[in-house]
């Protein structure tokens, strides 16, 4: 069904800012998100009656944005609980869930945010092992720390932020295991807001007596959870109920490539992982750029603020740089979905092709579509990637495909 709107995938800061910019330019928008409510990751909506957690400056900007969106009325439609299945070569966009339609929009803005990068570790598929982001999502939603002993491990500023949030909510983590040793002096090159945030977290953790082990990595995870950590001062063993892993942020753009006859613009972290502060700015840019494109006008320049955020993120990446794991046990699972190990990879012989990896090795052939394994499989196999992604961009139920109105399917001019 031909639709005069621009579809925006993702109701986080980038998507909502894009929708507002579209509406201000006189272009109608339909924002969809598979989560039950708008907000994305940073502004994950708390349960009814629960106080929102997060930095006050972020909360204020989000409230202001949502107020402005609401003021646009029917110009911006929002459909949550709606999955984006992809856009095909005819410009058909598949939506399933609360809205089940096959639409031909005027344009498509992808604002699917970031995904977490998690290195494979022995035992990382055990229940109780999660991404740090999963713990943070729970915390924001419930307004409470999860119960039990929590250990955080990996690398990156998110670990410190989460550790401080858990501490503030009354369940301080056992420790933070950080692979890098961020040097102090170069860190002073970060924007003041970043430094102030980091300082607050460090002070809170220090006052609560939460150890932060630098230059430390998880060597093994056993049932229990019993986590063995290699630190510069020697091996440590932690008994935890929950282990939050995090090894960085990447654009959540798995499977989003591919030709389409309509304008497709990416916004926010899924275009470039620059964090929350940049997301709204980039969303506005994307909405304006889409409106301009649809009106046949020239492109806008990149906002200066994005350049600042890019520099800040690049510095953070350098501060948290550390060596990748080299000596992973052969029985470590690489592809979680298919249960395929490093040994299974080596059994494919030297220089396996992407095809060998997928069809014989089964790597990346499970329902996560390589989101969590592709990078590691490619690294260990010495190939650039696992091959071209295919539609749908996320698993769909056949029942949902059958529920698409026939009138939609018939409109393939």
């Amino acid at each position: 069904m031909r639709d005069d709107r621009v579809i925006v995938v993702g109701a986080g800061p980038a998507g909502m800012a894009a929708a507002l910019a579209l509406a201000k330019a006189g272009q109608s928008a339909l924002v969809v998100d598979q989560a039950p409510e708008p907000g994305g990751a940073v502004h994950r909506a708390p349960l009814p009656g629960v106080r929102k957690i997060g930095l006050p400056e972020h909360r204020r900007r989000w409230s202001a944005l949502m107020d402005a969106v609401a003021a646009k009325g029917a110009g911006i439609a929002i459909s949550c609980g709606t999955a984006f299945g992809g856009v095909d070569a005819t410009g058909a966009v598949l939506l399933t869930g609360a809205t089940t339609r096959l639409l031909h929009p005027r344009g498509l803005i992808l604002a699917t945010g970031a995904r977490e990068r998690v290195q494979p570790r022995p035992g990382w598929t055990l229940p109780g092992v999660m991404t740090a982001g999963a713990l943070q999502t729970t915390l924001k939603r419930l307004g409470k720390a999860p119960a039990g002993r929590v250990l955080l491990a990996g690398s990156g500023p998110l670990l410190l932020a989460l550790a401080a949030e858990l501490t503030a909510l009354g369940n301080k983590p056992l420790a933070v295991v950080e692979a890098a040793r961020p040097p102090l002096l170069p860190a002073l090159g970060l924007p003041p807001a970043y430094l102030a945030e980091a300082a607050r977290y460090r002070v809170r953790l220090a006052l609560a007596g939460v150890p932060v082990h630098y230059g430390a990595t998880v060597r093994a995870i056993a049932e229990g959870l019993r986590v063995t950590v290699d630190t510069p001062a020697g091996m440590r063993v932690f008994d935890a109920d929950l282990l939050g892993l995090h090894d960085g942020i990447r654009p959540n753009d798995t499977g989003l490539g591919g030709p389409a006859p309509i304008p497709v613009i990416r916004a926010g972290d899924c275009r470039e992982a620059l964090g929350a502060r940049a997301a709204m700015i980039d969303g506005t840019r994307a909405g304006q750029a889409m409106a301009a494109r649809l009106a046949g006008q020239p492109k806008h320049a990149e906002p200066a603020a994005l350049i600042r955020q890019r520099r800040a993120q690049a510095l953070l990446a350098r501060l948290f740089a550390h060596d990748a794991p080299t000596d992973l046990p052969g029985d470590t699972v690489l592809c979680r979905c298919e249960g395929r190990t490093l040994d299974d990879l080596r059994a494919l012989g030297p220089d396996p092709t992407a095809r060998d990896l997928r069809l014989t090795g089964r790597f990346g052939m499970g329902p996560c579509q390589g989101r969590f394994c592709a990078e590691w499989v490619a690294t260990f196999a010495g190939t650039p990637d696992l091959g071209r992604a295919r539609l749908p961009v996320r698993p769909l139920a056949i029942a949902d495909l059958l529920a698409v109105p026939t009138a939609d399917s018939g409109d393939l001019a």
Binding site: Q34, T131, L135, T138, L142, V333, E338, A397
Partner: protein
């Protein structure tokens, strides 16, 4: 208000997902996976597909599915799968 997991009541907070309610009840192991290991929450936002459960014969992500009173949730391998 309760959902049912393997036929047993599990209370939930209105607005909560199935994954969240089960986790708070200490039910982190969501049953055996066909390719080995266990279903369980990992990413919490519908990307990893590790928290798959069955509701009314349909496969859904526990972390994306809102709770409803009386919602009967079963492991992927069936109610008897251990």
């Amino acid at each position: 208000m309760n959902i049912l997991w393997r036929g047993q009541p599990v209370s939930f907070i209105p607005g909560e997902t199935v994954g969240s309610a089960l986790a708070r009840a200490g039910l982190r192991d969501l049953g055996p996976r066909a390719t080995g290991g266990r279903h369980a929450l990992f990413c919490g936002i519908g990307q990893c597909q590790n928290c798959l459960v069955q509701i009314g014969g349909r496969v859904v992500e526990a972390c994306l599915t809102p709770c409803a009173d009386g919602l009967a949730v079963e492991p992927m391998g069936g109610s008897d799968a251990r």
